[in-house]
């Protein structure tokens, strides 16, 4: 029972950051219909940025986190403008290939700059964990959960309470109609990609602090993000959040009780099983897929 509680707590912390990944991708995927292979690289970028700020330059950890998010947004915007905008209207697989090319370039640039050895980020939190009954949780993880929840709320507020969010939602529903209503579609796309990338960078910075930073960390993150989007439905932020916690839970319990080697397979199995029975995702509204 104690083990179960510990797993649950771990899952909640993990789920929070997974949610950031998932929300970011579901926005990009949903509004722009792009299979974004660079999402994982933005995640890694966030981790390396905070590493650069906090570990290499010795700056404040929290400041580093903010820089990571902002830098992630800027990088996302640049990718959108340089690579995606010129490709509007091209074949789906052509766009995919461009994204794949970008992914390869980004990951190997990271490898070149930082080398393949995993890096650890020193954080300003006390080493001794917080112990509540049978459950122990490090202060870092408490912070990660808090930061993730804050960002999730911020994303929610952005989408549902701002003009930009309204424009994004309109573009998601019907981009032609939105354009006719005066929405600047190109700008929305750039903003969407930037926001999504920023969220991915945030997730990377947070989880990178908890675990380690490696150049290939983005690959699994990408796949998990896609799993979450499928679970939650395209463009559905609430669904993505729930899906993220579900995935984290399945992973934690799977690793704890079944086998840790297959831990990462859980995500993929979920994808395959869900799509077999509900090809539009668990929480999808009645939308046309693909």
């Amino acid at each position: 029972m104690d083990q179960l509680l510990q797993h649950l707590v771990n899952a909640v912390v993990l789920g929070g950051t997974y949610a950031l990944l998932g929300i970011g991708l579901t926005l990009i995927f949903g509004i722009m219909r792009v299979v974004n292979f660079t999402h994982g690289e933005l995640y890694a970028f966030g981790a390396y940025t905070i590493y650069l700020m906090a570990a290499a330059l010795g700056l404040n950890f929290f400041f580093g986190l903010v820089v990571a998010i902002v830098a992630g947004m800027l990088l996302g915007a640049m990718i959108e403008v340089a690579l995606l905008r010129p490709m509007r209207g091209a074949d789906v697989d052509t766009v995919m290939l461009v994204m794949i090319g970008a992914w390869i370039v980004m990951q190997n640039t990271e490898l070149l700059i930082w080398g393949g050895v995993a890096k650890a980020i020193v954080t300003p939190f006390p080493d001794a964990p917080l112990v509540i009954g049978p459950v122990s949780i490090s202060w870092l993880r408490v912070f990660v959960l808090a930061a993730a929840l804050l960002l999730i709320l911020a994303a929610y507020a952005l989408i549902h309470r701002t003009k930009l969010g309204k424009a994004m939602r309109a573009t998601f529903q019907d981009s032609d109609a939105a354009a006719l209503m005066g929405v600047h579609i190109k700008g929305i796309h750039t903003a969407t990609f930037a926001i999504g990338s920023g969220l991915a960078a945030a997730a990377g910075a947070l989880l990178g602090s908890v675990f380690l930073v490696t150049p290939t960390m983005g690959d699994l993150a990408s796949l998990k993000a896609f799993a979450i989007v499928i679970l939650g439905g395209l463009g559905n932020i609430t669904g993505a959040t729930i899906g993220a916690f579900v995935l984290a839970l399945v992973e934690e319990l799977g690793a704890g009780y079944v086998s840790s080697g297959y831990r990462d397979a859980m995500g993929f199995l979920i994808i395959i099983v869900v799509l077999l029975f509900k090809p539009t995702g668990l929480f999808a509204r009645a939308e046309r897929v693909g």
Partner: protein
């Protein structure tokens, strides 16, 4: 001109070992050749039938593992305590079993693509490949996990009356790859230039329209997937018996990516496209390796991919064909494949 080109290449392929002595280059050619076969099979599914299958390496890897396990033998315990023991069989048997089992997994993917469309299908195929990798990695009893399956025996061909011949050296292997490649090329070529191929292309272009003229879209999609997977599986088997050692890394997404790059830069939907793309991306590493670190190499490939997509969106071969056609003012060539059995471009002005 059209007839001369293939004959020329056939001559090159079959006389190669006589004028190429460098064993290292031959080795590269062999592995590139194997990858080209896999890329051609991907082209059938991705290029001609329009299915965004990004898990193709799964079929290649399944073929490799099945072939290796068939020839090495295995002894595993399944759920419920059943023990399955398999004695080693000859490599040729492994080859054909690999093709069959890979084809069967292609059937599954084909059936799946009907329930799951568009971008979700992409994710499912990627997940499929990842799951196979994780199974290969974790089912150690069967696959030796990360320790790899080693000492895979080479092919032994038995010629009645002439005795057995074991393919140990590279020259023999080159011919084997050449023959299999040729068969694959002919199979795919005949398929796409036929009524079946037209149905596949129709379903890629416009499914509703294809259905409305009586084309059973599911059937042809599954057919494309099965044939595509079977050929990839065959390539995997060739790979296993050549390299003689395979590990779960064979399922890495990066290999699918390599195949996709070969197909799309070479020109999807054209028969020669994967060959050209394959040669470029098969040899580029060799050339670049001399002066750049691995990371830099990959940055170059990534950049090159983006560049080709921006500059030659249809791929190298179709762009070249179009360019040649506009030079020779041949309208039927510009329209793409000419299926007009006996007619020439006399119908056109």
């Amino acid at each position: 001109m059209k007839r001369a080109v293939p004959t020329f290449w056939l001559l090159v392929i079959f006389t190669l070992p006589f004028w190429l002595q460098d064993q290292y280059v031959l080795h590269i050619l062999i592995t590139t050749g194997i990858f080209i076969i896999a890329a051609m099979s991907l082209n059938l599914l991705l290029g001609y039938t329009g299915q965004l299958s990004l898990g193709h390496v799964a079929f290649f890897g399944i073929g490799a593992y099945v072939s290796a396990l068939t020839t090495l033998g295995f002894d595993v315990e399944l759920f419920g305590g059943f023990r399955v023991v398999h004695e080693p069989w000859p490599a040729v048997a492994g080859f054909f079993i690999a093709i069959t089992i890979a084809g069967m997994s292609g059937y599954v993917i084909g059936k799946l693509s009907f329930k799951v469309r568009g971008a979700y299908f992409v994710i499912v195929t990627i997940s499929f490949a990842e799951v196979t990798r994780l199974v290969a990695l974790n089912w150690v009893e069967l696959t030796q996990g990360p320790l790899a399956l080693t000492n895979i025996p080479p092919f032994t061909l038995g010629f009645p009356g002439l005795g057995n011949y074991t393919l140990w050296d590279k020259t023999a292997y080159w011919y084997l790859v050449g023959v299999v490649g040729l068969v694959a090329y002919v199979v795919i070529g005949r398929l796409v230039n036929s009524r079946i191929g037209r149905a596949m292309i129709a379903l890629k272009e416009n499914e509703s329209l294809a259905s409305s003229v009586g084309i059973d879209v599911t059937h042809y999609l599954v057919l494309a997937a099965v044939v595509s997977a079977a050929i990839a599986g065959g390539a995997g088997s060739l790979y296993a018996h050549y390299i003689k050692i395979i590990d779960p890394d064979i399922f890495l997404f990066i290999y699918t990516v390599t195949m996709v790059i070969m197909v799309i830069t070479g020109g999807k939907g054209s028969l020669a496209g994967p060959i050209v793309g394959g040669l470029i991306f098969g040899f580029l590493p060799v050339i670049v390796r001399a002066f750049a670190a691995p990371a830099v190499q990959w940055i170059l490939y990534g950049g090159l991919t983006i560049l080709v997509v921006f500059v030659l969106p249809r791929g190298i071969v179709p762009t070249l064909q179009g360019w040649i056609a506009s030079r020779t003012q041949s309208e039927s060539a510009r329209a793409g494949l000419s299926w007009a059995g006996g007619s020439k471009s006399g119908d056109a002005k």
